[in-house]
C-alpha cells in the first residue's frame, strides 16, 4: 500500500469507541444503527480505490434526516470525524475512512419520498441508487439522465458528492445539471433546505456548491431530482478506425459540425479485445479504436442524424461501421461499454482508472502522448472514455505484487493528469479528487485559488472533521 499523509489520529477517541456507540444508540433510540464488530467494520475499510484502507472506529447506519442530524450534532460536540458513504464505489478514495472517525453510511436511506410526474420531479433519500430512480419513473416514460456505469450500485448522494456523469452526459449534463434541491445536514447537525423545486431560485447557489464537494461540507440526506421524458428512440452506430488519432479527430469533427449526439464513447484496441473476450458484444477487435455514437429522436430524425455522422466520419477512413437496428442490438452494444472496466480488470491483477478532462480538440494529440507515457513506464494502458465530453479514462494496468509497480502506475497516472491540465483540461471530470489526486491540486490551481477553496471549506466545517484529508492538499502554507 502506498503511504498517504492523513491528519493525525486521535487514539483517545478510538479508545472511547464503545462509549460513543452507546451514546449514538441512545440518541437514536435504536439498537441496530451502529456497527461495532471489527470484522463488520472491515467491510468499510476502503471504497473502489482499494489501494488505500483504514478501518473506521464505528459505522453508523441512520434511517432518517433526523437521525443524521442527531449523529452529526453528537460528533460535532465530541470532535469525532465523519466520513459519509453511499455505496462505496468511489474510485478516488472519497469514502476512505479515518481510524478515529465514524463512517456514516446512507445504505438504509433508500425511500422515495415524493414523486410528482407532472412536474417531472422526484424526491428521494440520498441512499437511493441511481438506477432505481429511473426504474421508479419508468411507467411514466420519464428517467433520471446521469448514468454512471456504476448506476446499479452507486447512490444519488454519492453522485452529488462526486458530481457524477455518464455516457449520456454530453447531451443531458452531469449530476449538477439534473438536481434541483436537497436536504442537507451541516457539520453541526443543523438541517437546511437548499435549492428549489423549480431549478433556480434567488440567492447564492448553495445547492451548486455542495455538488461535487465530496462529502466534505455536510451530509446530503434527501434530494429532489429532475426527470426527463424519454426520447422516442435512440440508436447507436459503431465506427471503427485504423488508429486512435483518426477516432479522436472524428469526435472533434462531429461536434464542430454542430451535431450533439447523446453520447460519443471511445474504446481503444486493448479495451476492445478485453471487452469482447469478457462480454461478447460483437465489437470489431481488429480495429485500433472504435466510437459508439448514439443519437436520439424519431425514426426519421435518427436516420438523418446517423447519415450525417457517417458522412462526417468518412475523411477519417472508418474501417468498420455498424448501426444497431433493434433495441436488442442497441443493448448489446452498450452492454460491452458498460462492462468495460470489469473486462479490462481481467487483463491484469490491478488497475487504476484515471479520470482527466481535455478539450476534445486535443483528443488525438493527448492519446498519442498517453501512449508515449505508458510505453516509457513499461505499463499497459487501455482507453475507454466519454469522448464527447473530452473525459478520458486511461486504465493503467499493473500488478501490485510486483516490486515498485504500483508506485510506477501512480506516477504514470499523475503524468497523464498533468498532461490533461497542460492542454487546457482538468484533473477530474467525474470521479472527484478524493485522496488520489489531492496532492496534484496545486498543479491545477495557484496558491490564491487554493486559499479560496480552503475558505469555502472552513465556512462549512471550520474544524475540518468532515471527510478529513480529502480534496485539498495537506499544506499549512496554502491555508489562508
Amino acid at each position: 500500500m502506498t503511504s498517504l499523509t492523513m491528519p493525525p489520529v486521535a487514539e483517545e477517541t478510538i479508545a472511547a469507541a464503545e462509549h460513543h456507540a452507546d451514546q449514538i444508540e441512545r440518541l437514536l433510540e435504536r439498537k441496530d444503527v451502529v456497527v461495532r464488530h471489527l470484522d463488520e467494520r472491515k467491510l468499510y475499510e476502503s471504497d473502489a480505490l482499494n489501494s488505500y484502507t483504514a478501518v473506521p472506529m464505528l459505522v453508523v447506519l441512520p434511517y432518517t434526516t433526523d437521525d443524521v442530524a442527531k449523529i452529526m450534532a453528537y460528533c460535532f460536540r465530541e470532535k469525532i470525524a465523519v466520513v459519509p458513504r453511499g455505496a462505496g464505489t468511489s474510485l478516488t478514495g472519497g469514502a476512505l475512512p479515518v481510524r478515529d472517525g465514524i463512517v456514516l453510511s446512507m445504505a438504509r436511506m433508500r425511500a422515495v419520498l415524493d414523486y410528482d410526474p407532472a412536474s417531472r420531479l422526484m424526491r428521494v433519500q440520498a441512499g437511493t441508487t441511481n438506477l432505481s430512480i429511473s426504474d421508479y419513473a419508468d411507467g411514466d416514460n420519464l428517467f433520471y439522465a446521469p448514468d454512471p456505469s456504476s448506476q446499479l450500485a452507486c447512490t444519488i448522494g454519492g453522485n452529488i458528492a462526486m458530481n457524477s456523469g455518464g455516457a449520456h452526459s454530453l447531451k443531458y449534463g452531469v449530476t449538477t445539471n439534473n438536481i434541483v434541491a436537497a436536504t442537507f445536514v451541516t457539520a453541526e447537525g443543523e438541517v437546511c433546505t437548499l435549492g428549489s423545486a423549480a431549478g433556480d431560485s434567488a440567492g447564492l447557489d448553495l445547492m451548486g456548491i455542495i455538488t461535487g464537494s465530496e462529502g466534505s461540507l455536510g451530509l446530503v440526506t434527501e434530494v429532489t431530482v429532475r426527470l426527463l421524458p424519454k426520447a422516442p428512440g435512440a440508436r447507436p452506430i459503431l465506427l471503427g478506425f485504423g488508429d486512435n488519432a483518426s477516432a479522436g479527430s472524428c469526435v472533434a469533427a462531429i461536434i464542430a459540425a454542430g451535431i450533439i449526439p447523446v453520447a460519443i464513447e471511445f474504446m481503444d484496441k486493448p479495451s476492445l479485445q478485453a471487452i469482447e473476450h469478457y462480454a461478447k458484444a460483437g465489437y470489431p477487435t481488429d480495429c485500433a479504436a472504435v466510437l459508439i455514437v448514439e443519437v436520439e429522436g424519431s425514426e426519421a430524425e435518427i436516420d438523418t442524424l446517423l447519415e450525417q455522422v457517417c458522412a462526417i466520419a468518412q475523411p477519417y477512413q472508418p474501417t468498420f461501421q455498424r448501426i444497431a437496428k433493434t433495441e436488442t442490438e442497441r443493448e448489446l452494444l452498450w452492454k460491452g461499454r458498460k462492462a468495460a472496466f470489469s473486462a479490462v480488470g481481467q487483463l491484469a491483477p490491478d488497475y487504476f482508472c484515471i479520470d482527466g478532462v481535455i478539450p476534445h480538440g486535443q483528443l488525438a494529440h493527448v492519446l498519442r502522448k498517453v501512449e508515449e507515457i505508458s510505453t516509457r513506464y513499461g505499463l499497459m494502458v487501455a482507453n475507454v472514455f466519454h469522448a464527447g465530453d473530452g473525459n478520458l479514462h486511461p486504465l493503467i494496468l499493473f500488478d501490485a505484487n510486483k516490486d515498485q509497480e504500483q508506485e510506477k502506475a501512480e506516477a504514470c497516472g499523475a503524468e497523464i493528469l498533468k498532461l490533461c491540465v497542460d492542454v487546457g483540461g482538468c484533473l477530474s471530470g467525474e470521479h472527484g479528487i478524493g485522496v488520489e489526486k489531492r496532492d496534484l491540486m496545486p498543479y491545477q490551481f495557484n496558491a490564491e485559488t487554493l486559499r479560496q477553496h480552503y475558505r469555502l471549506r472552513r465556512a462549512f466545517d471550520a474544524e475540518e472533521r468532515l471527510n478529513p484529508g480529502k480534496i485539498l492538499p495537506f499544506s499549512e502554507e496554502l491555508r489562508p
Binding site: 428549489s196 477530474s428 465556512a459 462549512f460
Partner: protein, 386 residues
C-alpha cells in the same frame, strides 16, 4: 505575468484598505435587481473589460471578459451558427435601460435564465468557469474551459446569482451549442391557470422535446405557447405530433420568424414592460404542478394583477399595483413549495423575501465572513436579512 485585470485588483485592494464598499457596474442595465446599494460606495465600472479572450467553435467554448455585451457576443457566435447553451433574460424593458447594453458578467451575476431553461441549460449549467477578483484584490480561477470538471469545489456556482456580493466576476467561460436550424410554436387558449399547467405538463412530458412552455394571462383565461426547435424535417414532424396531442384545441401555428419573435418577447418580459411602470414585479419558483395554486393565492391578494407562467409553471411572474409585501406573499404561497424573488419592487415591500432556515442563514453568514470579512462587496444587496 501581470493580468489585464491588475487595475481592477488594485482598486479592490485599495477599497479594502480604506474599508470602503464598492459597487460593481456592468452596463447598469439591471442595477434595479436586488436591494439597494449604499450611497457612498465606490463605483467600479467594467465597460473597458470587454474583450473576447478565447473562442473555439469546435470545442463549443467562448471565454470573454465580464464587460462584453451579450448582444455583441451573440452576434459573434451567430456567425458560426452557434449560441450560448443557455439564454439570458434581458429585463431592460422593465428597468427603462438599454437592452443592447447588458453584459455577460451582469447576466451571470443576476442569473435569470430564459424560457428554454425548461429543457435546455440554465445559466448555472452553461458557465464552465470564470476569473474572479476576491475581497483581497486577488485574481482567482474557478472551474475551467471543459464540459466536465470536479476538480475541487465548484466555486463559480457561488458567483452565479451573487449580484457581485462575493467578488468581481472578471471573465467567464461559457458553454455553447449549435443554433437550431429552425423553430416553430403552437399557441392556443385555455380557460384557466390549472388547465394551462396541465396541458403544458402534457406537452413537456411527451417525447417531443418542447423547449418553451409559457402561458400568458388573457381576458378570457390563458394563452399557451409551446416551442419546438431543431433541424427542419424534425420540427415539421414534431409539429404534426404536437397538433395531434392537442387536436381538441383551436391551434395557431407560428412559423420560424413569428415564433422566434414571440419567444424573444417572452424571454424579455415584453408583456410586462409594456404595462404600467408603477406595477411591482415578483417572481415565484415552485414545482410546476403547484403553479395554479400559487396563481390562485396571488389572485386573492391582488385580484387585478397580471400573472404569467413560464417553464411550464415552474416560474410564475406577477405584476401588481396592490403594493404586496414579501411577508404576505410568502405566507400565501408557502404551502406550495414556492420561493419568492422581488424583481421590481420597492425596498420596503421587498424586505424579507428570502425565507432562510437557521442552518442556511448560518452557512451564508460564515461564507460571507470567510470571503469578504469587511463586506466591501455589499452583501445586503442580495440578502437584507443576514
Amino acid at each position: 505575468m501581470t493580468s489585464v485585470f491588475a487595475p481592477l485588483c488594485a482598486e479592490v485592494s485599495t477599497a479594502a484598505e480604506n474599508q470602503q464598499q464598492v459597487r460593481i457596474v456592468g452596463a447598469g442595465s439591471h442595477q434595479g435587481i436586488g436591494f439597494s446599494s449604499v450611497k457612498n460606495a465606490k463605483s467600479i465600472p467594467l465597460d473597458d473589460f470587454n474583450a473576447v479572450e478565447f473562442y473555439s467553435p469546435a470545442e463549443l467554448v467562448i471565454s470573454a471578459q465580464a464587460g462584453a455585451k451579450l448582444s455583441v457576443l451573440s452576434a459573434l457566435l451567430a456567425e458560426k451558427q452557434q449560441r450560448f447553451s443557455c439564454s439570458f433574460r434581458n429585463l431592460s424593458g422593465l428597468f427603462g435601460t438599454h437592452s443592447e447594453d447588458a453584459t455577460l458578467g451582469g447576466g451571470v451575476a443576476v442569473n435569470l435564465s430564459g424560457s428554454d431553461r425548461v429543457n435546455h441549460y440554465a445559466i448555472r449549467d452553461s458557465v464552465l468557469g470564470m476569473e474572479v477578483i476576491n475581497a483581497e484584490g486577488k485574481l482567482i480561477t474557478m472551474g475551467g474551459r471543459v464540459f466536465k470538471n470536479v476538480t475541487g469545489y465548484d466555486l463559480s456556482k457561488l458567483m452565479i446569482g451573487s449580484l457581485g456580493t462575493l467578488g468581481i466576476i472578471a471573465s467567464v467561460n461559457m458553454r455553447l451549442r449549435p443554433l437550431a436550424e429552425t423553430e416553430a410554436s403552437l399557441c392556443f387558449d385555455v380557460l384557466d391557470a390549472q388547465q394551462a399547467v396541465d396541458l403544458m405538463a402534457k406537452s413537456l412530458n411527451s417525447s417531443l422535446d418542447i423547449c418553451g412552455a409559457y402561458a400568458a394571462q388573457t381576458s378570457q383565461g390563458y394563452r399557451i405557447f409551446l416551442r419546438l426547435e431543431g433541424f427542419w424535417a424534425s420540427v415539421q414532424e414534431r409539429v404534426q405530433n404536437l397538433k395531434k396531442l392537442f387536436r381538441d384545441n383551436d391551434l395557431h401555428l407560428m412559423e420560424a420568424k413569428e415564433s422566434s419573435a414571440q419567444w424573444s418577447g417572452i424571454n424579455n418580459l415584453a408583456d410586462f414592460s409594456a404595462r404600467d411602470s408603477s406595477e411591482e414585479i415578483w417572481l415565484f419558483s415552485q414545482p410546476a404542478s403547484q403553479a395554479a395554486k400559487v396563481v390562485r393565492a396571488l389572485r386573492v391578494l391582488s385580484p387585478n394583477s397580471q400573472i404569467n407562467l413560464d417553464w411550464g409553471g415552474g416560474q410564475v411572474w406577477c405584476a401588481s399595483t396592490d403594493n404586496l409585501s414579501a411577508g404576505d406573499i410568502r405566507q400565501a404561497c408557502q404551502d406550495y413549495g414556492a420561493t419568492v424573488q422581488p424583481i421590481r419592487v420597492a425596498p420596503e415591500r421587498a424586505k424579507g423575501a428570502f425565507a432562510l432556515d437557521s442552518g442556511t442563514k448560518k452557512l451564508l453568514q460564515r461564507l460571507y465572513q470567510e470571503f469578504d470579512p469587511q463586506n466591501i462587496f455589499q452583501r445586503q444587496r442580495l440578502y437584507d436579512n443576514l
